[in-house]
């Protein structure tokens, strides 16, 4: 059987060209591994005449999706276009006509995962998506298979390279957000419109996928509470560092008493936590299971070759299943339906930085407001004076977010409170 397993690529951007490059570089090795070669037959692009960074045989290119989706020789569709439409329609067409699918599309999986899995399962086909979360880092399969004996308790991930690059630079250089954003854009680490990254949306999509697998219940993008890093200032980072903390944009998902919470926001973590030293554009996912304890998966979360590595890993796995007649063996693992915790119900510790009018009794009034709402203060870090203003920094004990928000609402109405500088969650474990 030297007949190739034929692939159709949808999209030929960064990840598409990385994937093709790896498949070409490793052609012989993959053929040896599987007993049959794996080859790209067609690549769908918008404009077949556009010059490409990676040299590609022009006969491979097509702008007609039917040439791929209706080719009976193609058994794996690799969707690397991104976005919801028309990727959703193409994947549905592929699964409906007996083709297996590999995708790196986090937007799609975070919203339409359930229906796509149902379709794959109904047709006995594979739908693999390792590349949709954290680029090259193996995390989907380790969670689905290797850690399957665990009740996962907690996931904390640095799953957006752009924001981790920005926060690392801010920490190392003491600079403010807007300054470092420009630097990141110049270096190609942030896009011209950085919204999806810096506002946490990209991380939220990945977290929805991770949480669904970890807790075996469907979590979609809408279930994730999202805050970005645009409000983090050099001052916050400085205070964090004084207290022995590092600020990271984390995707956090937890199960407590049968309810699941999923949230993306900046957080202070102790410098001794393994995530604290994950710097620059690197990603890492920290997973706590009841049996395995603490584990962490670290690597490059983006880029043509790292993400291509995850795509090709999936392609080889699907090809092996095709050769052995085993496709569809590992389908959706969301066999529970667990309720979602609202952000108000979430418990945590908070760092709060306030600007107040400097006069006697201010501290007492502020402490009184927190006390009335059941928010107890663990540490009062510092009071710094600027003219007739003072900066108060405090860290609360564990409290329900709802109560904290009530206290903050009251504070924000008080004449002595000039400004709530920032509120950042503190994550210990």
């Amino acid at each position: 059987m030297n007949q190739p397993i034929w692939i159709g690529l949808l999209g030929f951007g960064t990840v598409g060209s990385g994937t093709l490059r790896i498949l070409e570089n490793r052609l012989e090795d993959i053929a040896r591994r599987l007993g049959r070669p794996v080859k790209v037959k067609k690549v769908l692009v918008r404009d077949v005449t556009k010059p490409r960074a990676l040299p590609i045989d022009p006969v491979l290119l097509t702008d007609n999706p039917a040439e791929i989706l209706e080719d009976p020789e193609i058994s794996i569709i690799v969707e690397l276009m991104g976005g919801i439409h028309p990727a959703l329609e193409y994947i549905k067409a592929a699964l409906s006509s007996g083709k297996n699918v590999v995708t790196a599309n986090k937007d799609l999986m975070a919203i339409h995962g359930r229906e796509l899995f149902a379709l794959a399962e109904a047709n006995g086909l594979d739908l693999e998506f390792e590349a949709s979360v954290a680029g090259g880092i193996p995390i989907i399969r380790p969670l689905k298979v290797c850690l399957a004996g665990n009740q996962i308790e907690d996931i904390k991930g640095i799953i957006n390279g752009t924001t981790n690059f920005i926060l690392t630079k801010m920490t190392q250089e003491g600079s403010d957000f807007s300054e470092v954003l420009k630097e990141a854009q110049a270096l190609g680490y942030a896009e011209a419109d950085p919204t999806a990254d810096v506002e946490g949306l990209d991380a939220a999509r990945k977290l929805a996928i991770l949480a669904s697998i970890a807790f075996n219940t469907r979590i979609t993008l809408n279930d994730v509470h999202v805050e970005g890093i645009t409000k983090i200032s050099a001052r916050d980072i400085q205070y964090a560092s004084q207290m022995g903390y590092t600020i990271k944009l984390l995707g956090i998902a937890k199960e407590t008493h049968g309810k699941v919470e999923a949230r993306v926001h900046p957080a202070m973590i102790p410098n001794s936590h393994p995530l604290a030293s994950v710097n620059d554009a690197f990603n890492a996912i920290f997973v706590k299971g009841d049996a395995v304890g603490e584990t962490m998966f670290y690597g490059r979360g983006a880029g043509d070759m790292p993400t291509g590595s995850a795509v090709v890993g999936d392609i080889i796995d699907v090809a092996r299943n095709i050769i052995n007649g085993h496709t569809g063996r590992l389908s959706c693992t969301c066999y529970h339906q667990k309720p979602i915790k609202s952000i108000g119900e979430v418990e945590g510790k908070y760092y709060i930085r306030l600007l107040v009018t400097e006069k006697p009794g201010v501290l007492a009034s502020i402490a009184g407001v927190f006390g009335d709402e059941g928010v107890s203060i663990q540490t009062l870090i510092q009071q710094e004076q600027f003219g007739n203003e003072a900066e108060i920094v405090l860290v609360t004990h564990k409290v329900q977010e709802e109560n904290l928000q009530k206290a903050l609402n009251i504070l924000s109405e008080m004449p002595i409170v000039e400004k709530i500088g920032n509120v950042i969650r503190v994550e210990q474990g």
Copy 2:
């Protein structure tokens, strides 16, 4: 189909009881995941009357292997006895009679992996062994499947918890090896006879398994060059720290120009390397692939529940294959036969600590010997005087180990060299 998948456990020590505990705790969840429950039918022990830490129904216990190996209802044999005999014979009997095997036995896999795989393959059965390397950390499956598109360039692992605990304590407390070993023994981190751990043998077995998978060629224990940590002194750690390095016992495997090297020895790594902050009994495996770049897998490398987590992950995977009629899908991936590099051929940088007689011209003579053998010196760190002795510490440029050994042999014969205090490899990348 509510018929259970029946398991036979061989061995009921630490990992055996962890495995049983997880299977019992997660019984319902696993049944939901697979559509069928997974249950332990029999457990082979040496003495059925011995009291057990984990309460176990006495009807499960047997001291007769035939009760498990010849039970037609049992479809998965889980071997957790360790050692070569009779584990080897039992596994062969299981595979020959149509039973799938899950094992945590590194000794066995590092020596008899090839024949066991051949037997599993011939019978279309699964042989899974995630727990044999680095306890609960998912590493075998990520290497075999997720990173399959990569040419792996380099593996560096902290894969022995005992020695990592000892080195961490030595670093934090400035104490010498023998002192910390006693502490580790008292805490249960080191065994009464610590030889296999502190001499690097345990790590060497795991490295042989990892290297075989990473480079798709069979590496057995005999192919691994092994040195332990017994000669590391508080002074070496102090010098390392001055130079910005941490000393770790590493398992290193690399492929260069088609040849594979595999070695276990103490090494200095830069403090900024992700492995440098892997402390206490934690393990981590750092993997560099041509596409994925740098990745790291971190977690607990031993213990009843972490290792049990890996065993149960394998059990669930095999059970899924049994249910779907897919066993034997992922067999041996050693489809190459690559030559092994001898330790003399290996290139590296070296830290050398010498005790010499303090008199004029000593440095020149020593530098001369290195120069004659083609060993060039990058840094001369310090000279400290003790009476009429001086300590010379130097780091070489990259050199072939053979040449370094020649220089060291000559030095050790020179009257001005009182003692070669230590020689430790320096690993940069």
